[in-house]
Amino acid sequence: MTVQPQAAPAAPRAGGTLGKRILAFAGHPLFRGDPQVVHGRNPYRRMLAPGSLAEADFDRPPGPGEWAAHRSLAAHRLLGTFYEAETVLLPEQGLDGLYEDFDLFYGPDLKELREGSVSDLERFAFGCLDEAVDVSGAATPEVLEAYFQHVVEEAAAGPSPALTAIAGARDRKSAADLYLVQLALDGLTEASAMSRNLAGAYGPEQSALFKIFIDEFGYGVYDAKHTTIFAKMLRSRAMATHVHAYWNFYLTGPLATNNYYYYLSRDHAKFFRYAGAVTYAEAVFAPAFVEMIKVFRDIFGDAVDLHYCDEHAHIDEHHGRITRDQVLLALAGRHGPRVVPELLRGIAEARLVGGWFEDDTAAQIRWSDDLPRHRELAGSARTGSEPPRRVVLTAESPFGTRCHDGDVVLEVERGEADLVTTPTGPPERLARGEAVLIPGGRLYGIRPATPETACALHAVPPA
């Protein structure tokens, strides 16, 4: 379910042609969700919250400061689904009972909608990067090397906001699980985007990139594949390991980060930007996983399987070196100064989008860890004069999550509701008359705790 009026004035607010195509896609039965918080073992079904999507204005792309806006979340959920439909997803338990969903997911109707929308949706979702980043001046290989060294040293020196938020949380286990879920977005389909850049003929740099790809795929040994050892880590936390079990808890920043690499890889005109981005990513992964190991060991001791993190802390040192020397600098040397601005842009954009991942995850951890204070804040919040939007939920209502552009006070008017903000933490029970402040950009879902629950959403105007 998603928090929305039952009869939302969908089409008028969704914008022009892109909005209509998107609504047609999201309105497909595969994407309407079900009452369960965690998605079942069916990679073709995922909640695209068609109701809340209808509120999003797809005529107005989010600006650089609006990456956490509701329409940004909606766009990245769709874009992620579009991209994954270009990969092979099969359920581990076999297709028995899912043949029809397989046919629908990859079938001509959705394919046509996807292909007719993907470029527009990419411009919508990533157009803000054109404003957020620019590269100027005579960009030489020396400049590239100096800039790269600077940003990598900076990343290695600075603490991860998300890991800092976990370490400082009251419920550190739930916070750590929420972080794992953000990694699962890529972790369970790892290197899928990268695979698009392996075909063609571009010399030793192609072979260098392929070495990394082979590592990600465990040299063809299933047990060594990175997705396999990522699932082991989830299993050690008693979490679901099937693809997108926790779809409802992927945040905008992590979705954008994951989509960014697909976005670059889908369009080979952006190949040099991809080379910059992947080099940055590989260089900063190793120290990030070293930090993650410390934080997770501190919380869980030996009860968590961190083989995946150990693997990355080790192998990404090599990948960082290979991508820097044999991809990034090699491409700059072979193809000349004309490609250096694109390589620089890829580094800068990967750094920026990676910052969204961190900031979004940290903010979600802090909000979900401090709901009592947000109950207090709801009491003192000044709501606007606009009438609230009302939502009525029953046990059959599909569960979905969303966020709002600005602060909102959620009030239970009838029945009881569970506010769900984390994948594994306990939900916050709200009785009739109780309210909570939901900060702009924060993800939540509502599950009815009584046969029928009515909620009101009061917008809080900016101070």
């Binding site: 404003e131 957020a132 980043v133 100027s136 001046g137 005579a138 600077h150």
Partner: protein
């Protein structure tokens, strides 16, 4: 080897490298770090105003017109991400400082500009 400096463009718009000064010139959506130096006698181009067509800067010292595209070609390598700009400088050993100055060159073209002034 090169040197890297980081500027906060919401606070700073000028870089001093030894005796050389560079300022942030806005060109559409882009920001460029260009040399604050008129090729005629070294006048401060940051205090130049654009000609009505927006394509040249009129140096405040002697009215020399300097093409914006030529000024742009002189810019230092810079990667801007939001308000943060990372600038790569040659390692000359000169001291570097980052400051805020008045930049007239980013104002709209001067409608009172007299095209023939410098030739009289």
């Amino acid at each position: 080897m090169a040197r890297v400096i980081v500027m906060d463009l919401s606070r700073h718009n000028t870089v001093m490298v030894g005796h050389d000064r560079y300022f942030v010139l806005h060109e559409g959506e882009r920001s460029l770090l260009v040399r604050d130096h008129c090729p005629h006698r070294g006048g401060p181009l940051s205090l130049a105003r654009r000609t009505p067509d927006g394509r040249r800067l009129s140096c405040p010292w002697h009215g020399t017109k300097v093409g914006v595209s030529a000024v742009k070609r002189s810019c230092l390598p810079m990667v801007r991400s939001g308000d943060e700009a990372v600038v790569v400088l040659p390692d000359t050993g000169d001291p570097v400082s980052v400051i805020h100055k008045e930049i007239l060159a980013n104002l709209p073209p001067d409608p009172t500009h007299d095209e023939g002034a410098e030739s009289r």
